[in-house]
């Protein structure tokens, strides 16, 4: 198990380095420059390029960037917040995005599981139909539509929750964005749980377990859910990453000072350093989640762990 985990970790680190290189090359290939305000003339542009070292050859820029990055220095912003270190820009924003994203994952996973289990147990009934309709809506309607609908109904009409994010009312102003973000996760999880549970419930070992006299929660949770969980975890991981991308628009609507809205602004204004730093962080999170999932497989399903061990020996 240890060897397996170590291998996964090393592979992840290598992937990250490759991603950074690709990001860097992509930024160089991208048309446009961070300094293309219509009011700039050629000398001023040259001065700006010199100031930020962008007049150097690409390869020099890359190694210098990697060198700085290893010491935690992601450079400064060119446009969004001129000359501000990116680490300073991100440090207050990342916790807000992760907080709202985490809340959304939790809501989505829990509600999704519940819906899925309910519709599997009572499948082909009225309850199942309702749950299916909810999941279809959740999967097909984009999160910003939910965001606008929630904001209009609960923020503007009923005034239960603030329409805009405020640090003072951190929790209440996070509720609407989290729910809006969680809809897709919830719907996807509900659908997968339902189909996985149906398969497991119909299997022979469930029949055996039931005939052995097991019943109630023990039967469902210990035998059915645990077996259904593996594929669910597999879909949950990319969904978490989807949440981060979904948050780009939702953050804009609720005026949340998170990294998603920062990334959108950075891309629009060619703020290279911010784009690279945030894309890198997103990649790192994605790879980190995948790593955790890989390791979780081994814990939840001993067969995977054992198979690896035998394969290694």
């Amino acid at each position: 198990m240890k060897k397996y985990a170590l291998k996964r970790i090393l592979l992840s680190l290598f992937t990250l380095l490759v991603i950074l290189l690709v990001l860097f090359i992509l930024m160089q290939l991208m048309p446009g420059s961070p300094f293309n305000d219509e009011k700039l003339n050629a000398e001023q542009k040259a001065n700006l390029y010199a100031k930020y070292g962008l007049d150097q050859p690409v390869i020099v820029q890359f190694f210098r960037y990697v060198g700085h990055m290893l010491t935690g220095d992601f450079g400064v912003s060119y446009n969004i917040s001129k000359n501000t270190p990116i680490s300073q820009l991100i440090q207050t924003r990342l916790p807000i995005s992760i907080g709202i994203g985490g809340m959304a994952v939790a809501i989505g996973a829990i509600v999704g599981l519940v819906l899925g289990i309910i519709s599997a147990i009572w499948h082909d009934t009225f309850v199942d139909t309702i749950a299916t309709i909810i999941s279809v809506i959740g999967v097909s309607v984009p999160s910003y539509v939910f965001a606008l609908a929630l904001s209009y109904s609960f923020g503007f009409r009923l005034r239960w929750f603030p329409m805009l994010f405020t640090a003072k009312q951190m929790f209440s102003s996070s509720v609407l964005p989290s729910i809006a973000l969680s809809m897709f996760t919830m719907a996807s999880i509900a659908r997968f749980t339902r189909s996985e549970m149906l398969e497991v419930l119909g299997s022979e070992y469930m029949l055996l377990a039931e005939s052995k006299g097991l019943s109630g929660p023990a039967l469902i949770f210990r035998h059915a859910l645990r077996n259904a969980l593996i594929p669910i975890i597999t879909v949950l991981a990319p969904l978490i990453v989807d949440l981060m991308t979904g948050s780009l628009v939702v953050e804009k609507i609720f005026a949340i000072p998170g990294v998603g809205s920062l990334l959108v602004t950075a891309i629009q204004s060619n703020d290279y350093n911010v784009v690279i730093a945030l894309s890198f962080i997103y990649s790192a999170m994605y790879i980190g989640i995948m790593l955790i999932v890989d390791i979780l497989y081994g814990i939840i399903d001993p067969r995977i762990r054992l198979a690896k061990k035998e394969g290694a020996a």
Binding site: N36, E38, T84, G99, A106, V114, I117, L148, P162, P217
Partner: protein
């Protein structure tokens, strides 16, 4: 089995409730909290974008300028009508040749750390603006526009920044030397690039100036008391030590950045905001609201044909046919509906006033022989052009910003041109604004829909754009007579003769329109909502779009 199901359902429901209640986001410490108490007279203000920089010499965007001017004063300021009046300078003298300005500073102006504001602070600030090491994007405010002595040489690294033509004669006297007389020089003084900077304080910030309240120094109406870089909400409180403190009625300003205009409108309607900017699309929703206001933004939208890259567009009759074929009335009335006005001059109205106090472009019919909504004239020029070019059909690509309003306008422009000039086909190319600007500057376009906002209160802010080889002369149009007039007006003999200069600028403008070097479309208006409880917000098309010094709010 039935019992099992009920038990499962119950436990799941319990898990659901616990799960939803238990997972709030991490409680991060943040300094962005507003202090909008109910009884205070804080004005709740919406901003479309974040502040890009609080460093007055580095900032370039409207939001940054507005916020900097909330807590900083320059030598001069604008009154509510936009006229240049004294701020930190209590008086100034101009030498007989118009090339030396001497400003006398008030002695009661203090930085918020207690230091007095002195002439040396201005020298330090101005030197920062042209220092190539800072690479300030608005350095040209001092060089091209202000014509401060040696500014261009310093930017080009041919002279040291200490040679800049600004000196502190004593603590409260500032002498400025210019290359040529600049009649509107005092009006540049409210532009934040010309604001002072406390050298000692700046150096103590170790490069972090303007990134938090403690690395920001105020000498103006308000003091920044909560802010972080690119914050989506921040707050300023009234500066009780401001030299003109009795003028300030608000207890503070509470900024909220909202990028979604529908959210902004709803926030305004629930009284979270006292004033907000809206999108032109929302005019229909609010046009019956008495608090709806249309505010002139001073920006000219126009179409630039690329005369050097597209042979057909080098034909003047074809260009004139196109400019006459446009129906500007319909664009502003039926499409934009936000108060924007049709414009038939190369310099838009309402920002530049003549030596005797008249608006430069008040007369929109002045050039109606070359620029008007006139389909009949368009058709006759079109027939001429077709013969000269020996062609019956033309196909052009119109490049346009990926924003709502420009796209809608471009769509109508396309319909108007294609309908009035049969045989002409216009294809729209939609690009992000920054990309569109770059493509146009590089000459990689056929026709472009673009805009220009005035930087200072003189028609030259537009006219200097169309001289040969200027980077914003997108169509690479060139006319020797035009270049001569502009040169005489900006650095030649006409600098000291305001009335002659004024008339010469009309001559120059006429050449632009006569040759249809650009097709002016409309002058932009912004849609603002201002609560009935609020009065006194000053709106300006130049430099500082909103000024809150005279704003009042009844609670």
């Amino acid at each position: 089995m039935k019992k099992a199901k009920t038990a499962v359902a119950l436990s799941l429901a319990a898990a659901l409730i616990v799960g939803m209640a238990g997972c709030g986001p991490a409680n991060t410490s943040s300094s962005t909290s507003g202090k909008a108490g109910k009884s205070s007279t804080d004005l709740n203000v919406m901003s479309e974008t974040e502040v890009e920089s609080l460093d007055p010499q580095i900032a370039t965007d409207g939001t940054s300028f507005e916020v900097i001017a909330d807590y900083m004063d320059g030598l001069m300021q604008m009154d509510s009508s936009g006229k240049t009046v004294q701020a930190i300078a209590q008086s100034y003298e101009v030498s007989a040749d118009g090339k030396t300005y001497t400003f006398h500073l008030r002695k009661d102006v203090k930085w918020s750390n207690g230091d007095p504001v002195t002439a040396a602070d201005f020298v330090f600030g101005w030197q920062r603006a042209v220092d190539p090491a800072n690479a300030s994007e608005y350095a040209y405010m001092l060089s091209d526009i202000g014509q401060v002595k040696n500014a261009q040489e310093i930017i080009d690294k041919k002279a040291d920044k200490s040679t800049l033509g600004v000196t502190a004669v004593d603590d409260y006297t500032l002498k400025v030397e210019l290359n040529v007389p600049v009649s509107f020089f005092p009006s540049l003084m409210y532009f934040p690039t010309y604001y002072p900077m406390n050298e000692k304080f700046f150096k103590s910030c170790n490069g972090k100036y303007g990134t938090s309240p403690s690395t920001t120094l105020s000498n103006g109406a308000f003091i920044l008391d909560s802010y972080e870089p690119a914050a989506t909400s921040f707050h300023l409180k009234k500066n009780d030590k401001y030299y003109d403190a009795s003028r300030i009625k608000l207890s503070g300003l509470n900024y909220q950045v909202i990028k979604d205009s529908q959210q902004a409108l709803m926030s305004y309607q629930t009284n979270t905001l006292d004033t907000t900017l809206l999108n032109g699309d929302q005019v229909d929703q609010v046009k019956n609201d008495p608090t709806f206001k249309s505010v002139g933004a001073g920006c000219l939208w126009y179409i630039a044909p690329n005369m050097s890259a597209v042979p057909a567009l080098a034909n003047q009759d074809l260009r004139l046919a196109m400019t006459f074929a446009l129906n500007r009335e319909s664009i502003t009335k039926d499409v934009l509906k936000d108060g924007s006005t049709p414009t038939y001059t190369a310099v838009p109205p309402q920002f530049a006033t003549s030596p005797d106090g008249k608006d430069f472009s008040a007369d929109q019919k002045k050039y109606s022989d070359f620029c008007a909504d006139d389909a009949a004239k368009a058709k006759s020029y079109y027939e001429k052009a077709k013969k000269e070019l020996n062609a019956n059909s033309f196909k052009f690509k119109l490049v346009v910003d990926a924003d709502d309003a420009p796209q809608k306008v471009a769509q109508v422009v396309k319909e108007q041109l294609e309908k009035t000039l049969p045989g002409m086909t216009i294809d729209l190319v939609i690009e992000p604004k920054k990309q569109r600007v770059e493509d146009m500057q590089d000459g990689k376009f056929e026709i472009g829909l673009t805009r220009w906002g005035p930087d200072y209160a003189d028609p030259m802010t537009y006219l200097s754009m169309w001289v040969t080889k200027n980077s914003n002369n997108y169509g690479l149009w060139s006319d020797a007579d035009y270049d001569t007039i502009i040169k005489r007006c900006s650095s030649g003999d006409l600098c000291t003769k305001p009335t002659d200069r004024w008339n010469a600028m009309y001559d120059a403008e006429k050449i632009v329109l006569q040759q249809a070097a650009i097709y002016p479309l409309y002058t932009q208006c912004n849609v603002e909502m201002v609560s009935a409880k609020v009065k006194g917000i000053a709106y300006h098309p130049i430099a500082l779009n909103r000024v809150f010094k005279d704003a009042e709010k009844t609670s």
